[in-house]
Symmetry: D2
Amino acid sequence: CVFILSMRSMASKTPVGFVGLGNMGSPMAKNLLKNGYPVIATDVFPESCKELQETGAQVVDSPAEVAEKADRIITMLPSSPNVKEVYTGPNGILKKVKKGTLLIDSSTIDPAVSKEMAIAAEKMGAVFMDAPVSGGVGAANMAKLTFMVGGVEEEYHAAQELLTCMGANVVYCGQVGTGQAAKICNNMLLAIGMIGTAETMNLGIRLGLDPKLLAKILNMSSGRCWSSDTYNPVPGVMEGVPSANNYQGGFGTTLMAKDLGLAQTTATNTKTPIPLGSLAHQIFRVMCSRGYANKDFSSVFQFLREEEGQ
Amino acid sequence: CVFILSMRSMASKTPVGFVGLGNMGSPMAKNLLKNGYPVIATDVFPESCKELQETGAQVVDSPAEVAEKADRIITMLPSSPNVKEVYTGPNGILKKVKKGTLLIDSSTIDPAVSKEMAIAAEKMGAVFMDAPVSGGVGAANMAKLTFMVGGVEEEYHAAQELLTCMGANVVYCGQVGTGQAAKICNNMLLAIGMIGTAETMNLGIRLGLDPKLLAKILNMSSGRCWSSDTYNPVPGVMEGVPSANNYQGGFGTTLMAKDLGLAQTTATNTKTPIPLGSLAHQIFRVMCSRGYANKDFSSVFQFLREEEGQ
Amino acid sequence: CVFILSMRSMASKTPVGFVGLGNMGSPMAKNLLKNGYPVIATDVFPESCKELQETGAQVVDSPAEVAEKADRIITMLPSSPNVKEVYTGPNGILKKVKKGTLLIDSSTIDPAVSKEMAIAAEKMGAVFMDAPVSGGVGAANMAKLTFMVGGVEEEYHAAQELLTCMGANVVYCGQVGTGQAAKICNNMLLAIGMIGTAETMNLGIRLGLDPKLLAKILNMSSGRCWSSDTYNPVPGVMEGVPSANNYQGGFGTTLMAKDLGLAQTTATNTKTPIPLGSLAHQIFRVMCSRGYANKDFSSVFQFLREEEGQ
Amino acid sequence: CVFILSMRSMASKTPVGFVGLGNMGSPMAKNLLKNGYPVIATDVFPESCKELQETGAQVVDSPAEVAEKADRIITMLPSSPNVKEVYTGPNGILKKVKKGTLLIDSSTIDPAVSKEMAIAAEKMGAVFMDAPVSGGVGAANMAKLTFMVGGVEEEYHAAQELLTCMGANVVYCGQVGTGQAAKICNNMLLAIGMIGTAETMNLGIRLGLDPKLLAKILNMSSGRCWSSDTYNPVPGVMEGVPSANNYQGGFGTTLMAKDLGLAQTTATNTKTPIPLGSLAHQIFRVMCSRGYANKDFSSVFQFLREEEGQ
């Protein structure tokens, strides 16, 4: 096995498989092409395939076929059931995977599913790593994503070779599933910090403080956080952030609600109390049902404010 | 009135009154003495008075007597009722206050009470400002406190002259009560960030992440906050913080619960929703009833962890 | 004093004072008139006074004047500051109150304020009792209110004589302030039960259960509560409740938010943790800012439901 | 298929299979024996099997073997993974199940897993129903359980025949999974009502109310719920409940936390906001980590109370 793996590691610029050509996957695959890697790709939507084909990728019909033709495969899919289907479904990667193949899943999913996939891959002689990203479509286009990678350490360098074509930071987190864990943890704390900042700014404004001054005070004090100093949710405090643009762009509330759902599920399964994380989840969930699903998650400031005319 | 006020402003090194010689007030008064100001002080506890007397202060019997002898007075008291008593009680400052006296209250209290005191002071021809501090006993000793000041802007420089003897930062926040507002807002966001960090670190550890690595990832990402990068609640992640010393020292859970009580009261009175702030309040309140009252508030990490042997 | 009090108790059908002729106070005063008591009334709105005058009451200019003419006075006011003003303000009851007068406050306020008023009344030789009501305008009209009474037990019967003219149930709760405490406690548990019922019904419906069947199952099981079996928030489950009438009528969300604010304040002041009560408060507060202020509080079901078209 | 099914339905007093002989399953199986049904049973713990064998059951080695010998099988297992293993594992029921067999699962699990099992059973020509119970070991012994049944309506009567031997109430809830849904919903509302009652009683006591009187007032008012009127969590208010016996017996906090975990998972999966349900889950989870795992869940009253000596 060591021999097979090292053969593959040396085989730079041999074809790389790519499954999942959505808003994120498509620019990621293009960045592999730009770096000189032949790409063999597939997606359930023919439109997405066609677009990538025009950029130079070879398009095939199924994940299984990708696995026949590439011994390094990246997957970027919306959620756990899609990952299960693409790996272990009837036309899945593991139906045709070659021994020693490196499988890198950049989807954000339950780490328990990552572990399942790793075990299933190992049975076929392949190696599975989870490598979810932070950064949105803009970062994907500019190859500025951050990858958080979980899996056997010996394979990390082989993964890094590909991931650096698509991202600015690649962080090794530990065993399989810890990449997901790191992403979920970061986003849970981000969600808590954002709602906390929105509540705090709103309270301060009602108590007579100028919002810019309040932000300045928080940012030089122990209330400081990323949501207060880099992505402030109050219109007028900062430029170039979604709050300055009616909460368009950025990271949608529905996506944050999804990640908090994963945080909740992993916390429930590991019997970990997350009181603020749970409440943050519920708040973004209610927002989704009140028309905020597609606004940036910092619109929680708007959601909590008193309506005009009250 | 302008004339009287400007006389007082010029009167540097004339006596300064000080009411409230507790853990914070005592070192603050000493720093005024060190800066060459005669201090006329009082406190309900004779022991506290005696100690300051030995350092050179003149001790008198009541706040009213302080007001007779000083036209700049600083108060540092535990809570709203004490402030009401010291200003408007039968032996209170306002019974004997001279026209033009500058009254600076550094207690952390409800901003509505600050406004009441300001109105009462104004009726007597005096000026009241709120100037609560951040920083604990250590910062008070080393004259490194931060003062957040609310009150009429014309008086701010007169206040600043004294406050800089006791603190490293003096921030003007706006009208009376906004100093309190700024402090309450900061501490509410701090509390939310700390519990959020504790939950997140605990979840990450249970999911197999190394705590130092997780802290590093959060601190380079959008989960970053003061509690994760400067005051991490997980033993072993940082040195020189309470989590490295069994949660001794620092900012007691009971004090944080008090400040969150103020945040809750001001939010209730202004009809401001603070879902995470409210829950943070409740969590620290439960901790107080479970034996954590005098531990640093970062001990919420310990509170949320599963017990050994479960 | 015993002598004076017993004189007053015997003095049935002597005039009764009434301060506060709003939606609740007006029908309550009318019920006293119907029972043969002369009523001497006042209110800050002349319109309200005029209407009651037409029903036979004598209208005077101030609470102080009411106190001059009646030795039993009932007050029904919106909130704590109004109560303070009416009792201890410059034209307040206590300015002219006669020794031995019985003062019954039916407002829903902070029990700490009730205690303050009781002390102030005692100094004037009068007796203050708190007697907040449950039941809305309909119950007030039909003399079907429930009164929860706090105050010295010896005076309870004198209070009961009047309260039974306006209510169907009069419950003695203990020392001054316990009437308020009982009302606040009941409404907090009601709020929690209502939100809990709304969440539960919504979850069950999404999981495929028929709402009527689910309500039936809950009501024969340990999930049973007043909100599930008497005031179900799901349209179509019950008749004659606000959920059957687009959440009109009933108990407005803004009134529930006010009562939860009192619960929060008393809990903060007594250092009592109320995690669900606090969160319920925040939810109704958010609802008020999202357009639900004047709908019945059971509209929380509607608030939590997913929007059409999502 | 209709023919096969009706044959089985007529076949009363033919053997009934039973898998899972724990605290609940064992007395349930005994009640089938008492009603004259031969029982063919298995469990992973030989001790449990031995005990039932002595009562007259035939013990076999695996769920598959049970399926060979019985065309009506009841399963009572701790959690979703056990149910998957017993039905679809290598020695599982579905390996040997006969066409037309009626499979009744009384475990409390995720309704999504119930649906999976129903589909897997249908592929083998068998019928799966979920029938979780409410009521504890005492009710199981006395055949006083309540069964909430989900599955095809035509099979309900066949299931009812067996379930009435073990329970006092059998309620048909709808399609497969709705039995679980009903149980989860009930227990979520129960959990909310219990914590709400504990908070409310604690607050009332601190405000000076006698606990028995407060319970009486709540129970005649809109705060009434099962936890206040049937299972009050405050020692001294009622007899014959766990709060009267140091919170021993009853329904363990860890079991409630498990059910709330299921509620959370189904809510997350159906994107249903459950703010109070989530917080209740977190509170019981924290209690489990603070030493309350095996106390009755009404011990939340004790958990929230201030400690002696504070």
